[in-house]
Symmetry: D2
Subunit: 342 residues, 4 copies
């Protein structure tokens, strides 16, 4: 059986990545591509790398007949997404890639995003999209909220450690390096090649990055008490890839054991042998996440490093994995593409 | 039916690319990975991006039982390849990715490569592997010689123009830009990141690059008279991708028409609308080749630009396409992966 | 004696490059930095790499007292520049870095730039700023028009050959590769890191790039007859550097001899030994231009390759070199910085 | 007065960087360039970016007449350096850029570097080369030991905080990102462009990187008790630049105040306004170090970020700064080059 798919926000990077992945998915057919600002253009004009595919032209969201759609990916900007989703048919399966439905508490949403939530009904039914930890809820969900790409990376490194009581909850530092595509295709001076290549810098320093809200929500729920990590993202002169270097206090061997056991059956989460370190180059363009654990010369300290592709496992790959579950497909269909190296 | 495959030279980039592509090929199973210098290691050690795959460990070529192999890819260095292939079973189907069997005339081989050919028997039965132009011969071949990556790019731009008598044969210039992975994984000072990034330079200037031997052989055969193009490759600070900018004397509209007609039914050769120019970014990691044609303000001049990924359409993707034909598989199986952008 | 300098357009890359160079110039003092859109900001805010310098804040052009200025660099966008310069004191020495005063014939200007020239008086007194060929005129000029960066590169390769009658004037091809900073700091989708890195493409193909107007003007004047070159620029994933690969018909040894003689006394133009090829990496951040000449296996053909830094020798370095002449300083003062490699 | 200079190890990146800097130094003249493996070659052959300079050819170290040399820079590999320096005239002023004389305790040296020290006499007189903190000793030293480039970066961020008793000495984490030129020009697979570009990974994880020995020595001396930091370096796809993100427990405002006061008179150490973050792009090719301090939402935590160019302030620039002191020159001569951006 083939499922009919719509993608809203098809002119952005996560939209294009969805098309790339679905192109080799045997059970999905792209019926509509929505992109208000570029409606009327062909996908080949907007993304020439997809020109070999037989795709519908871009249309405005209003033009889409959602009654013919089995599942809709919504890759719109934050805040826009909630308004659009509130207006869609109430029985339409939706995977949202924005930040709009990630936070369960509307007050927390408002605090971090600065506006009142405009679709509280939808928010209350949304399931957090970190597949490996919400698999059953996702399978039966109507609306799944994709996680932040940084938030996914940090959680893969930390959730089993917090759940297992293996680390000091008051001393967790996530130093993260991210490629530039996570910032999207928007025109900002700091995203120009001449500004960004050949160097690095930190941004959102000191507890101001919005993905902290997800860390707080999830880690506190697991721990049963408030947990506040430190988190510093850095922009990397590379297009894809996130590397999170996580500093914790706990036994390195126990930590490696806990991660290995937690992910033993997970098709996409690969725990490296103890002491090995992952590289973003080795997951590029794929849905895999590599995790490494090392001890430190300072006793009782460990370093956990997680690497994934922000556009794949961090957003569009995760979204497809969740859609597979929601549609009764095999979870890994369309997602077993090997990383592109070099 | 599943075909059992061996890859010799599995520790190099083209070997790894073969594994990446075959990983999603439903009709092939990798039975043996040969790499004398790294025998005993696992593929995950040599190429961590392939660690999710269930692959045999690397072995020496001597250790491989070729009687259990349906087709063997040979991704060994030039000169080594001919010696190894001469020693393999005479009924084993082989796709060679080296330069050893590309040139039909042994004297020409010796002139360009500096050594006497050591496997003239094999050479005489080898079929030149430019799929779209040797499809029937490849289908029934035992030994197919993969083309040079630069040679493939230039030929896609020029063969139909020469065949159609559309251009001046004495004034063809191929100015080519290539990513660094074409030079392989060997340790050379000029391939270091610090030497190569952030700039460009020409190499093999003035008619000395070995891929000229292929241009000469093929273009002269098509034209029925000697043809000698000018060819200047440049090294690009990028890992993958070749862009060939080809300057010809002829009518631009006729040229665009000829290419469009010649490739109308080709699944991987995409001719852009007249006046559009391809980019290596839009074929990255894929088996597609994009071709663009523009006129010039100087009447009677045209510019043809071809872009492909040297590791895919330029070598390992081409090899798999040929293997599909040799094994009776659908030609495109395993090769419809969309390019990775950004 | 110290000269007081103003820079208009100080918030762009060529403006910043002027500040970088003048920072180590013993005979110049920056008195005013004009940048209408960022007036009120400090240079450290706009260009943090210049924060160690004691510089005036950015102001609007109207706020500058030009009576206290000895020489004004004008690094404003095309078309804006002519309006501003027309309004400046008529005895103020000016080095303009825009395209506005490069073309002597107003009709040619209008043809290529699409608007009527708004400052014909100034245009008629402007001297073309290719230092090595207009040195005497520049020395006594009031207004010098900086050349296009691509135009400079191609001219260094070709002028002595045309002047010496050494090449076929009807078969000149300039295949050029340029770093991204030449496009400036403007917000365009194709200049984003995610769009531009890791690949290359041609633009302005087929005789449409505006720097052709300079080639036409200069080469025709030297030859005493119309000369129209073919010119294809390509965008390179690097911030700085232009490499022009020039294909000509003529004797390679004679060409190498002619360039060597022409530039024997030039401090910034370095002709490499015959057969060597320059790299943009080896002139990065400097005012040097490296030139190489090779023969081809096709008799009577030669390849001339020129490399320079578009922001230095291609614009701001050239501008400072000209300013030195106009102010009676040593021509090389402030410009002998060695290239930054790696 | 002009000082005559020798550089040993002139065929490496730090050797070339010394030549680049000395090229604009009015008080130094390069008399000898030693490089055993490339003796007989010209500097233009080994480093074409320096071809405009009038430099002596490379010679073996034995060929150099050190009686004519006022100061010798020694940019040789670790372990080699101590043997060479032991054989040089005992009154020759030397700035060593290797690790051989950084550690005062021979047992500590042996522990981290794995071999017995071969020049204990020299070691005992060596002064640690972190200019701003050892200025007086350097001024009168005969042998100065340049610091590790990572070690310099971390110390600029931390020394005033430890000295001021402002931070918890048991919870210091240095997460560092470094460009690739710090690894030198040696042929290693992981330094190839195809392996290193477009991604990042950690190395020397868990307390194994040798620069920790310098941190231990210096921080413990300042604190008057053992201090062991955590330190994780990451390789960045950029040629130059180090960014150290340092996590400490202490008052952010006090920390910013302490750094600002400590470096108020330092020409090369620039403390940014509170809350601003430095970028490696803004110190590229220069001797400047930018430092930023931010608070965290977790009370009592602060983040200090330091950026410098590993080849300049991290090695060759530091070496020249020290040589200036040793020769009675102005400390900043030859070092005020502004960073190259973009």
């Amino acid at each position: 059986m083939t499922h009919d798919i719509a993608i809203l926000g098809a002119s952005g990077y996560t939209g294009a990545e969805l098309v790339r992945l679905i192109a080799t998915h045997p059970g999905m057919r792209i019926k509509a591509l929505g992109a208000n600002s570029k409606a009327g253009q062909s996908m080949a004009e907007v993304f020439p790398h997809l020109r070999h595919l037989d795709l519908p032209d871009l249309v405005t969201i209003d033009e889409i007949d959602f009654s013919a759609i089995d599942l809709c990916f919504c890759a719109l900007p934050h805040a826009t997404s909630q308004e659009v989703i509130a207006s869609l048919p109430k029985d339409l399966k939706i995977v949202d890639l924005s930040a709009d439905f990630r936070l369960r508490d509307p007050a927390v949403y408002e605090k971090w995003y600065g506006n009142k939530h405009a679709a509280l009904d939808c928010q209350s039914e949304a399931v957090y999209g970190l597949t490996e930890f919400y698999r059953d809820e996702i399978r039966s969900a109507r609306l799944v909220a994709g996680t932040g790409c940084n938030a996914a990376t940090g959680q893969y490194a930390l959730r089993p450690l917090i759940a297992g009581g293996l680390i000091d909850l008051d001393d967790i530092i996530i130093d993260l390096k991210t490629g530039v595509s996570g910032a999207g295709r928007s025109l900002k001076e700091n995203l120009l090649h001449a500004e960004l290549s050949e160097g690095t810098h930190a941004y959102g320093v000191g507890g101001t990055h919005r993905h902290l809200a997800e860390f707080d929500q999830e880690f506190s729920a697991i721990a049963g008490r408030p947990v506040q990590v430190q988190f510093t993202p850095h922009l990397l002169p590379a297009n894809r890839g996130i590397l999170a270097t996580v500093y914790v206090k706990g036994g390195a061997a126990e930590i490696h054991g806990a991660l290995s056991r937690a992910y033993a059956e997970e098709p996409f989460l690969q725990v490296l042998p103890f002491g090995q370190t992952p590289s973003t180059r080795h997951i590029r363009g794929s849905n895999f996440c590599h995790l490494g654990v090392s001890g430190d010369r300072v006793p009782g300290r460990a370093i956990v490093i997680a690497a994934l592709d922000n556009l794949t496992k961090g957003s569009s790959g995760q979204a497809l994995q969740n859609a597979n579950l929601m549609l009764g497909e095999n979870e890994t269909t369309g997602l077993m593409l090997a990383p592109v190296f070099p």
